[in-house]
């Protein structure tokens, strides 16, 4: 007699639970939609404006073709391999230059900051170099190294080198002296102190330097490719403009900003994966 009653209450409870689950799911999907809306609204409005202004004749469609024309051109350039080929050329130079700059700047920065006297002595020079816009050196480098790969990569190395070097130096200075002291108390040798304590403690600051360097890399690379090159996104932008392929030119610009976004995201993701940066700390 008690058994059916129990079954009844049990099943009614499970119905309630299901209803609660369904409610939670509905609320959850509303939340996700709201999030999605929050982040896509501004870009969507931007694209819409871009599409409408030339169509309504508010801006000249010859110089500002609507977004759909640009997208079309972009798609065509992608399937014909023009954009991928040029993007690859730029990426190769950027990656080579950035890696070289990191490999040179980090050890050098550690070395310079190992001695207060050396870093003080070098600091006026470092300041002067840092405040010399890398693009100012473009004519010099083109003069000496021509317009080949070496000259492009050299420009990138130069531009990327300074943020990494300066961040390494200030990172080393910012290391909490008490953890160095702890390392010394454990009997670590000077080399081990540098490799096992100073370097890992400095990594987050170095990482910030590399992200700054990435921005500088693209800036300088595109300019260098515009001055003279046979491939690369900067080169392509110039060619498109000279041939009056306006939608293609905008497609190239979009490809560039996409590349910037992607590389920055990739670098950040790598930093999180390597536990150099933490989500919480950055946000």
């Amino acid at each position: 007699m008690s058994s059916p009653a129990q079954t009844f209450t049990a099943s009614s409870r499970s119905v309630q639970a299901q209803a609660r689950d369904a409610g939670a799911m509905a609320r959850r999907s509303v939340q996700i939609t709201a999030q999605l809306l929050k982040y896509t609204l501004a870009p969507a409005l931007f694209v819409l404006t871009w599409e409408m202004l030339p169509r309504l004749g508010i801006v000249n469609p010859v110089f500002f073709p609507p977004f759909s024309r640009v997208a079309q051109a972009g798609w065509h350039l992608t399937v014909t391999g023009v954009l991928p080929r040029n993007a690859c050329a730029s990426i190769m130079r950027a990656v080579t230059g950035l890696c070289l700059a990191t490999v040179i700047a980090v050890p050098l920065g550690m070395l310079i900051s190992a001695s207060r006297t050396v870093s003080d002595m070098l600091s006026p020079l470092l300041e002067a170099f840092r405040n010399t816009a890398p693009l100012a050196l473009l004519p010099v480098i083109t003069l000496v190294l021509g317009i080949g790969e070496v000259s492009k990569v050299t420009m990138v190395v130069y531009a990327a080198f300074w943020p990494i070097l300066l961040n390494t130096i200030s990172g080393v200075r910012g290391v909490d002296p008490v953890i160095i002291k702890a390392g010394r108390a454990m009997g670590l040798s000077p080399a081990n102190l540098l490799l096992r304590i100073t370097l890992p403690a400095t990594l987050p600051t170095i990482f910030t330097g590399v992200r700054l360097a990435l921005a500088a890399t693209f800036l300088v690379l595109i300019a260098a490719e515009m001055v003279g090159a046979r491939a690369g996104l900067g080169y392509y932008l110039n060619v498109a403009q000279a041939n009056f392929q306006i939608p293609e030119m905008y497609a190239g610009i979009l490809a560039l900003s996409g590349l910037g976004l992607l590389s920055n995201g990739l670098l950040f993701w790598a930093g999180v994966r390597l536990r150099i940066v933490q989500w919480r700390n950055v946000k």
Partner: protein
């Protein structure tokens, strides 16, 4: 199992030339002290009297301006793995988990790789942090960080353990638990322990002797034998009349620097 002998040690921090009007600062003046091998010595003194400086000298992290410090008859040449320090500011590596922090010290002390993990976990368990072994320092409370630092120093099983206010950031219960744990370990290993504290009760509870420091300049004012230290395990020595008498004696010696007995900060 090492004795530490201070022979008229002075420590002067020279003035920074760039700062006008600053004079050389004498932190320690004529400190003579004999810490016996296997002894549990507590050091009490007001803030700024040079306790941490004294500890740095024993650790070999800094050197006296004058006088000598001998360990087992030899002058200290520098840091050694056989002397381990618990720093007042914890000094944990922020990019390593609690477990990795302890393992780091074990590696530095030359403990083979295959024995580090187990030993590190054992000492984290000892300080009650088994469940937090994989947290990084920024995910730990102040008291937890302090316990990781204690586990790290204990784990290398040094002959001399130098502890700078190691229980300062702990609540009363955890503190008393760790005090007893430290005493138990010391009874087993008979390491030489130098233990710095602000807390007179703690010094009397732990130490066989209590060295009282006064400041300006830092100086050992008196060394007190704790008569009931051998009876700690069987009786609650904190209740003994001698305990309060000694506490009062030390407090008067520290006056006007110290807080009245029984007052914590």
């Amino acid at each position: 199992m090492s004795d530490i002998v201070f022979q008229s040690v002075c420590k002067i921090f020279p003035a920074v030339p760039a700062r006008k009007g600053e004079r050389d600062y004498t932190v320690l003046h004529d400190v003579s002290l004999n810490i016996r091998a296997g002894e549990f010595m507590c050091l009490v003194g007001p803030s700024g009297c040079g306790k941490s400086t004294l500890l740095d000298l024993m650790a070999g992290l800094d050197f006296p301006t004058d006088g000598t410090i001998l360990i087992d008859g030899e002058p200290i040449k520098g840091p050694a793995a056989s002397r381990s320090v618990v720093f007042q500011q914890y000094a944990l590596m922020p990019w390593l988990s609690a477990l990795q922090n302890v393992e780091f010290a074990l590696e530095a002390a030359g403990v083979p790789r295959n024995r580090r993990r187990e030993r590190a976990l054992a000492y984290l368990r000892l300080v009650g942090l088994s469940d937090f072994a994989h947290r990084r320092p920024d995910q730990l409370s102040g008291g937890m960080k302090q316990r990781v630092a204690i586990a790290r120093s204990l784990s290398v099983e040094p002959r001399v353990l130098l502890m700078d206010e190691p229980f300062g950031a702990l609540d009363a219960q955890t503190r008393e638990g760790l005090q007893d744990e430290l005493l138990r370990l010391w009874h087993q290993s008979r390491q030489t322990i130098v233990f710095i504290t602000h807390d007179i009760d703690e010094a009397l509870y732990l130490g066989q002797r209590v060295a009282i420091m006064t400041r300006n300049p830092g100086h050992i004012a008196e060394i007190i034998d704790v008569p009931f230290s051998a009876r700690r395990m069987e009786t609650n020595v904190r209740r003994l009349p001698e305990f309060s008498a000694l506490r009062h004696q030390i407090w008067r010696k520290l006056k006007p620097d110290a807080l009245p007995p029984g007052t914590y900060h």
